[in-house]
């Protein structure tokens, strides 16, 4: 719209640092990078609000589960059956919202 805001926008790491996570030991989302290598859309990379999908040098996708909002965007927009296995973190773990 009008370019940069008239005051500094918070950086992405600082943005995510405002969110409380009780990280589970076991990842609740698993990405099958073999499937991702043949994907040309890679919608997850830009759409994930927590920016957890990172393209790797070998053409795959690295996924970080620790700061996941558990929203479901990634599996819903994914074009490739089986690329993203999605479940909830173990009970009591994952995102804990306080001011939402």
């Amino acid at each position: 719209m009008n370019g940069a805001a008239p005051w500094p926008e918070v950086g992405f790491e600082d943005r995510m640092a405002t969110v409380e996570f009780d990280v589970a030991d076991r990842p609740h989302i698993v990405v099958n990078s073999d499937i991702c290598r043949s994907c040309s859309t890679r919608a997850c990379v830009t759409a994930c609000p927590a920016n957890l999908f990172v393209p790797t040098a070998d053409g795959g996708i690295a996924f970080n589960y620790e700061q996941c909002f558990e929203c479901g965007t990634c599996y819903l927009i994914c074009d490739s059956e089986g690329a993203i296995s999605w479940s909830y973190p173990e009970g009591g773990h994952g995102v804990v919202l306080r001011y939402s």
Binding site: M1, N2, G3, A4, A5, P6, W7, E9, V10, F12, D14, R15, M16, T18, V19, D22, T41, A43, T46, A47, P49, A50, N51, F69, E70, C71, G72, T73, L76, I77, S87, Y88, P89, E90, G91, G92, H93, G94, V95, V96, L97, R98, Y99, S100
Partner: protein
């Protein structure tokens, strides 16, 4: 804890708590499973809870609800990058009992509401995920007889399972109540909660005491189908966007960049400038409405709230918590009657849908069923906002020494300027009247 309940309610959000409250008050044993450490810990929304449905469940609820502010002014702003047209309505009555809408923090509200069910006798088990359903005889397609949980030895048997497990409802999907989920029908809500002293909120938003404001915005999502919002809490404000999933994916932009653009709009910046981010959050919204809902009952199973796609997203009316409460309470009532009759088959639970059809929940959804598709048309998303701003700007721009152009000429010129055919304008106008009239 007993291993069998009359009803197991999965999810202690507004739908689940309403279902559990109704069941517990009728003397049924009921267990609410919540996967977060407390009710509301996983929940996020776009800002306003309309409390009328609470009247029937908790008389004088406003004396105890953890409210942030009572919404006494409601605005819709139609925007282009440099212009905006605001239609607003304020009412003193909305700031007095029985009130109209309130802002509240979901961790506060959901916990309070779930506590009402607990006070009525429901058992709340937190930090526990319902990982699937159990079925009669262990047969696929058999009647649902309970849920599996991620706790050790964690099967819970139930006369009826009520899935209030949110927008991703893995239980309703596992039970086969959903056709394949269409990402077109979901939006991503992203929200920043910003710290702001109450006195500064009063100054910027022109309110006093516990009065609050809810602003909904069309045309400020940089071409991605969706909308924006700003609303006031007590000493925080919330600003965010609602973005259609497929539109967001194909635009290849990041949600937080779109929020930054929204916040820098000349009509929004003065409200949100120089504030500290207190919490960032994201959540999906089921926006497909009536035509995208799942089957609402299976053998031994009911679905309510976001899990059943009950959110009403129709442009002027953006409601969800009230629909969750309304559907959850109806599910609770239906479950009670089915348990009393000893028939919890899909046929025995079919009264749930009929009950919803008689209340505001499905009456509104049915009446407004054409609106979600209408809102997603290219004209509504990309052409009407600048066209409306053209007309408004033309009306209020003084053209001396030339005479005023007149409304009809302005509309025709604005339509042409924005590639809108008058025939389409008439058709959409008629569709709108037919849909919401």
């Amino acid at each position: 804890m007993p291993e069998r309940f009359d009803a197991v309610v999965v999810g202690a959000g507004p739908a689940g708590a309403a279902a559990a409250l109704v069941l517990a008050r009728s003397g049924k044993s009921v267990c609410m499973l919540e996967r977060g450490p407390f009710p509301g810990s996983k929940n996020m929304y776009g800002g306003v809870i309309y409390g009328r449905i609470l009247d029937t469940l908790i008389p004088r609820w406003w004396e105890q609800v953890p409210v942030q502010r009572w919404v006494t002014r409601r605005e819709t702003r139609i925007m282009t990058p440099t212009r905006s047209l605001t239609v607003g309505c304020s009412s003193k009555a909305w700031g007095e009992p029985p009130y109209n809408g309130m802002t509240a923090l979901r961790p506060d509200f959901d916990r309070w509401f779930a506590d009402q069910a607990v006070a009525a006798g429901a058992v709340l088990v937190t930090s526990t995920v319902a990982t699937g359903v159990t079925r009669q005889g262990g047969r696929a397609g058999g009647r649902v007889t309970g849920v599996r949980t991620d706790r050790l030895g964690g099967d819970l048997a139930a006369g009826v399972v009520i899935a209030c497990d949110g927008v991703n409802s893995f239980l309703a999907k596992e039970a086969g109540l959903y056709r394949r989920a269409d990402p077109d029908h979901f939006t991503l809500g992203v929200k920043e909660v910003l710290a702001m002293p109450a006195a500064e909120i009063e100054r910027r938003f022109n309110v006093s005491g516990r009065e609050g404001v809810d602003i909904e915005v069309l045309g400020a999502t940089s071409g991605v189908p969706g909308g924006g919002f700003v609303y006031t809490n007590l000493d925080t404000i919330a600003v965010g966007l609602v973005l259609q999933l497929t539109g967001l994916a194909s635009a290849k932009v990041r949600p937080e960049e779109l929020i930054a653009e929204f916040k820098s709009h000349p009509d929004i910046a003065p409200l949100v400038a120089r504030t500290e981010l207190k919490e960032y959050s994201a959540h999906l919204i089921p926006e497909g409405g009536y035509n995208s809902m799942p089957r609402l009952a299976g053998d031994g199973l009911l679905v309510a709230g976001d899990a059943a796609g009950m959110t009403l997203a129709t442009g002027v009316w953006l409601e969800g918590v009230n629909f969750a409460v309304g559907s959850g309470a109806a599910a609770g009532t239906t479950a009670c009657q089915a348990l009393d009759r000893g028939d919890v088959s899909a046929a025995g639970l079919a009264g749930y849908r009929r009950r919803l059809e008689r209340t505001f929940v499905l009456k509104n959804h049915k009446k407004l069923r054409r609106v979600p598709a209408l809102l997603l048309t290219d004209r509504v998303q990309h052409r009407y906002a600048p066209m409306v701003c053209d007309v408004a700007e033309g009306l209020f721009t003084v053209t001396d020494p030339a005479p005023k152009p007149g409304l009809f000429r302005l509309v025709r010129a604005a339509a042409k300027q924005n590639g809108v055919r008058m025939a389409d304008l008439a058709r959409d106008g008629w569709a709108t009247v037919r849909s919401i009239g």
